[in-house]
C-alpha cells in the first residue's frame, strides 16, 4: 500500500508520496473493511502547500483497465493541473469524487480493483457506506481555517468540539445560520438586486459555502468585505456545532448560509468524512470514567505565568502528558483488534472547531517540551490552522485527544473516541463549587469535571482511574508543569 499513486511531477522522494502509508497504518480498521485487493486512490499532495485538490477531469472511466503508470485523473492543486498516475495494474472500480469537486489531500477519490470480479465488491463497499463521497480523513481537515473569534488561544478559548458534537448536530444545521436572511437591503446594491462584495470576500464566501446575498456589508458604501464573510462563517459555524451552544455565541449572527427549509442537502465531503468516522467508532467498545478536579492551584499558576505567553491549553496538555508518562497504557491504542500499540511518543491532539467541522492540531512530545515552548508551539499551530497550512503530521499524529467545551459553560460532556487512538478526554468548565473538606468545613473551590472515553480492549477501568488520580494530583499541585 505504500505507493498507491504518484505523479510524474513530484520528485520520487517527496514525502507526500508516503502519506498513504502513514494513513493506512494509522487507521487500520478502514483497510480491514476492504476485503481482498481493492485499493483506494487518494488525493495526492502535489505541492507542499496543497491542502486540498480539485478533480479537473477523469481520464479513465469506471470499469476501465489501468496499467501501472497510466494517467487516471487530472487534479488541480493550488498551483497547477497535473496528471495523477496509477501505481498498480487493475480496474478503476469506482469514482468516488466527481469532476469539479474538491477533496482534502489524502482523501480517497476512487477505488482500484485488482480484477474485474472485484469491481462489484468495490461498488458494494461504496454503497454500504452511507455517504456518497466517503472520505477517510480520520480527523477530518479539509479546510482548516479556524476563525479568529472562536479559536484564539487562551483559557477556555479552545473551541474544542468533540467529534461527537459535530456529527450529532449536523442535522441541526438546516435550522441555523438563517438569522440574517432577507434582512439586508444593500445600500450599494440597487435595492438589493445585486451584491457588492470585494474580490477577497467573494473568494472567502465561496470557500465557506456562504451566500453573499444574506450578508450585511460593513465596507465603504455597504460593500461586503472579507471580515463580514468571516464573521458570518464564524456565526454559522458556532450555531452549526450545536443549538445548545447557540446561546453562548457572543457575536450576533450577522448572517449566514441561506438554507432552503425543508430541503434535503447532501453531505459535504467533510460531513461525509465525519459520518464515516463516527460510524467506524461504533465498532470500538468504549467506556467512560469521570473525575472532578480542583483547579485553584492551576488557576493561580496560570495567572502567574500567563504574562510569559503560557496558555491554558498548553498547561492542560502538559499536565495530561505528564500523567500519561506514568500510565503508558492510556497512551496506547488498538489498531487491529488483536494487539496493543504502545506509542513511543506522547502526542496530545487538541480539538479546535473550524468552519463546518473541526481539526486536531497535535502538540508532539508534550511530556518532553517545556511549558513555554509548548505554548509557543500551540500558538504556531493555531496560526497555521487559521492559514490552512497545517501539515498532515501536525494534525493526524495524536495519541491522546483533548476536547474542551468549558468556555461555553458546559460543565460535563462526553466525547466519541477518534478511531485509531486509545482515549479522549472531555474537559468541562472550571466553576466555583461548594465542597466539604475532610476536616468538616465547607469551602468554595474552583472545580472542573473531566470525562475520558477509552477503548476497553486496551485500557481498563482501573487504568483510567489511576490515570485520572495522577492527573488530578498534577493539576492540584501544578509545580511540575513549569519544570
Amino acid at each position: 500500500m505504500s505507493h498507491l499513486l504518484h505523479t510524474t511531477f513530484v520528485p520520487a522522494t517527496s514525502p507526500s508520496l508516503r502519506r498513504p502509508l502513514t494513513r493506512t497504518t494509522h487507521y487500520p480498521t478502514r483497510t480491514l473493511q476492504i476485503q481482498s485487493k481493492i485499493r483506494e486512490i487518494f488525493m495526492p499532495a502535489l505541492s507542499s502547500t496543497m491542502t486540498e485538490g480539485k478533480i479537473v477531469s477523469w481520464i479513465k472511466s469506471e470499469g476501465d483497465k489501468l496499467s501501472k503508470g497510466d494517467s487516471v485523473v487530472v487534479v488541480e492543486s493550488d498551483k497547477a493541473d497535473m496528471d495523477v498516475e496509477s501505481f498498480y495494474d487493475g480496474y478503476l472500480a469506482a469514482i468516488m469524487v466527481d469532476e469539479g469537486l474538491s477533496v482534502p489531500v489524502g482523501a480517497p477519490i476512487a477505488l482500484l480493483a485488482e480484477s474485474e470480479e472485484e469491481i462489484a465488491a468495490a461498488l458494494a463497499q461504496i454503497s454500504s457506506s452511507s455517504s456518497a463521497a466517503p472520505a477517510p480523513a480520520p480527523i477530518p481537515a479539509p479546510a482548516p481555517s479556524p476563525d479568529s473569534s472562536t479559536s484564539n488561544d487562551g483559557p477556555g478559548a479552545i473551541t474544542g468540539v468533540s467529534s461527537a458534537s459535530v456529527s450529532e448536530n449536523v442535522s441541526s444545521r438546516s435550522s441555523v445560520a438563517n438569522g440574517a436572511m432577507g434582512s439586508s437591503v444593500h445600500p450599494a446594491s440597487e435595492g438589493g438586486n445585486r451584491v457588492v462584495a470585494s474580490p477577497y470576500a467573494k473568494k472567502l464566501a465561496k470557500e465557506f459555502g456562504l451566500d453573499l446575498r444574506g450578508l450585511v456589508g460593513s465596507g465603504p458604501n455597504g460593500r461586503v468585505v472579507a471580515k463580514d464573510v468571516e464573521a458570518a462563517a464564524a456565526a454559522a459555524k458556532v450555531s452549526a456545532s450545536g443549538s445548545a451552544l447557540a446561546s453562548e455565541v457572543t457575536k450576533p449572527s450577522g448572517g449566514g448560509t441561506a438554507v432552503d427549509l425543508g430541503s434535503v442537502v447532501p453531505f459535504t465531503t467533510m460531513q461525509s468524512a465525519v459520518t464515516r468516522n463516527m460510524v467506524e467508532s461504533l465498532s470500538v467498545p468504549t467506556f467512560r470514567v469521570g473525575y472532578t478536579i480542583t483547579t485553584d492551584a492551576l488557576d493561580a499558576l496560570y495567572k502567574k505565568i500567563k504574562s510569559k505567553g503560557v496558555t491554558m491549553t498548553a498547561m492542560l496538555a502538559k499536565a495530561t502528558a505528564l500523567a500519561l508518562v506514568k500510565h503508558p497504557v492510556v497512551n496506547s491504542s488498538c489498531r487491529d483488534g488483536k494487539s496493543f500499540t504502545h506509542n513511543s511518543n506522547i502526542n496530545i491532539a487538541v480539538a479546535v472547531a473550524i468552519d463546518g467541522g473541526l481539526i486536531t492540531p497535535v502538540l508532539q512530545d508534550a511530556d518532553k517540551i517545556d511549558i513555554y515552548s509548548l505554548s509557543r508551539k500551540w500558538k504556531e499551530l493555531v496560526d497555521k490552522a487559521r492559514a490552512k497550512q497545517l501539515q498532515p503530521q501536525e494534525y493526524n499524529t495524536g495519541t491522546f485527544t483533548l476536547s474542551n467545551l468549558g468556555m461555553f459553560g458546559v460543565d460535563r460532556f462526553d466525547a466519541i473516541l477518534p478511531p485509531g487512538t486509545g482515549a479522549i478526554m472531555a474537559v468541562g468548565a472550571s466553576q466555583p463549587t461548594l465542597v466539604g473538606t475532610k476536616d468538616g468545613r465547607i469551602g468554595l473551590k474552583n472545580q472542573m469535571q473531566v470525562n475520558i472515553t477509552a477503548d476497553h480492549r486496551v485500557i481498563y477501568g482501573a487504568d483510567l482511574a489511576a490515570f485520572l488520580q495522577t492527573l488530578a494530583k498534577i493539576i492540584e499541585d501544578p509545580k511540575d508543569l513549569t519544570l
Partner: protein
Amino acid sequence: MSLSLSSPSPITRSDCTAVANAYLCTPRSLRFCGLRREVFESKSLNSLSVSTRLVPCPRDSSFKKVCAALQSNGTPYKGGFDYDLVIIGAGVGGHGAALHAVEKGLKTAILEGDVVGGTCVNRGCVPSKALLAASGRMRELQNEHHMKSFGLQVAAAGYDRQGVADHANNLASKIRSNLTNSMKALGVDILTGTGTILGPQKLKYGKGGSGDTIITAKDIIIATGSVPLVPKGIEVDGKSVITSDHALKLEFVPEWIAIVGSGYIGLEFSDVYTALGSEVTFIEALDQLMPGFDPEIGKLAQRVLINPRKIDYHTGVFASKITPAKDGKPVIIELIDAKTKEPKGTVEVDAALIATGRAPFTQGLGLENINVQTQRGFVPVDERMRVIDANGKLVPHLFCIGDANGKMMLAHAASAQGISVVEQVSGKDHVLNHLSIPAACFTHPEISMVGLTEPQAREKAEKEGFEVSITKTSFKANTKALAENEGEGLAKLIYRPDTGEILGVHIFGLHAADLIHEASNAIAMGTHIQDIKYAVHAHPTLSEVLDELFKSAKVKVNSSSPVVHPVAV
C-alpha cells in the same frame, strides 16, 4: 552603477547599464566589444583603465580627451546639413540610437519636448520596477509560511506608502540623469522643444510659434513613443480613475481597485497592489486573462498570480463607461459584453486603473507635410523602420522607431530598432529580427518569453510544413530554486526537431526575466539546440533550468559546429 544594475528592468538590460557605465566614459565600446572585438578590445580596455583613474574628477579635460580619442560627435561630413542625424524623442529608443550614432561618427542631435528618458524611465518600466521591488519584498515578508520554511521569523511587516513612492521617484530621477549625462558626455546635442517635420530632411523645434528654430538633417528618426490609451467613455480624473502615469506615483493605495486590461501593465500593477493590501478586480475584453502569453504559461500564471490572491475578474467584457468617485460615491464601471454589447452589470470600486494598452504619440509631428498618414495613430514603416507615405512609397531619410511605429512596444525593442537604423544610415544594411527580442513581465515570480508562442508556432508549422516539438522543465527540479523555496515555475521550449531551431522559449518562475537571454541570444545568433546544449552552466544556478530545457530537447541532427579552439588544461 550597482543601483541601475540591480533594477530588473528591460531598459536596464539594454541601456541603463550602459548609461551607468557612461559615467566612466565609454559604454558603447563595452557593449560592442563582443561584436567588434578587433577594433575596440584594446581601446576599450585602455580607456576603461584611464577613466577609472579619472573617476574622482570625471570632467577633467584629460578625461574628455580620452573620450574624444575614441569617439566624438563629429561634424557633418557632406551635404551642408546641420546634423547627420536628428532624433525626435529622447526616450530609450532615441537614446539608444543617439549613442550608437555617435559611435558611428555621426553628428547627432536629439529633440525632447518633455523629459529625457521618455515613458520607460519616467512613467514606465523604471519606476514600476521600483514599486515591484518594494512590493515583492513586502509580499515575501507577509508570507509567514514562506519565511518559516527558511526558519526565519518576522514580526508584522508594514510599509510606508510615501517611502515606497519615493523609491520609485528617486530611481526614475537617477536613471534620467544617467541617461542625460551619458548623452552629454558623448556630445550629443540635446535640443529642447517639440519637433515638427517641415519637409524632407528639414524640421523645426521649440515651444511652437515663431520662436522655433529650423534645422536640417541628413536623416531623421521619429521616436516619439506613446501615451496610455484611454478608451472612450472612460473619464480619467487622475485620482480615482487613473492610468499607469498616475499609478506609478502611488499617491494612494485603494482598498479595492479595478484594473481594466490584464496585459503586462495590468498584471504588474495587480502584483504591486495586492502585495500592498489592495483587492483587485480585472476587467478583460478578451475571453481569457493575460492574452498574448503562451496559453500554458498563462494558465500557470493564473494559478499562481491570480487565483490564490485577492483578485477576481470579469472576462469578455468592455468597460463602456467609468465615472470617477465623487460626492461619497465610489467609482462606477459599467460593463458591456465584448461581442454582443449587451450590458453586463456594473462594478463599484474605490479606484480604477486603465491599463488597456498604449496609443502612439504622433500628433504635431507634421507628418502631413511629407504626405504620411498614420494608421490608428501609428507611423507606417517597413521592416527597416523606413517610413511609408500615403502612396505606399518610402519617404527618403525618414525612419520611425519604438512605440510610435507599433511593431513591438517595448523599450529595448525601440533601442534595437534605433541601432538598426543607425547601422543603415551609416552604410550597412541591417534588418532587426523581432523574433529574437525578449519580453518580460516583472510579477513575482516573473514571466518572460522570446519568439513564438505554441499556437503561433503550430500555425506557422502547418503553413510551412515542418514539425514542432515542445519540451518543458520545472523549477521544482532546480537546486537553486529549491534553496530559495521558489520551486514554482516552468520553462518551455518550442523548437523544430528536424533542424534544432529554437522557435520560442517561455519561462514562468524565479528571475525568469533574467533567464530568457540565453534563449533570445541563441535565436539572435541563430544558434541551434544541438550546439547550445553542450554549453556549460554553473551549478547550482537558475540558468540550469534552461540547460535542462535544451538538453531535454530531442533534435534529429547532431552538433553542427566543430570544436574550434580546444583548450587543454
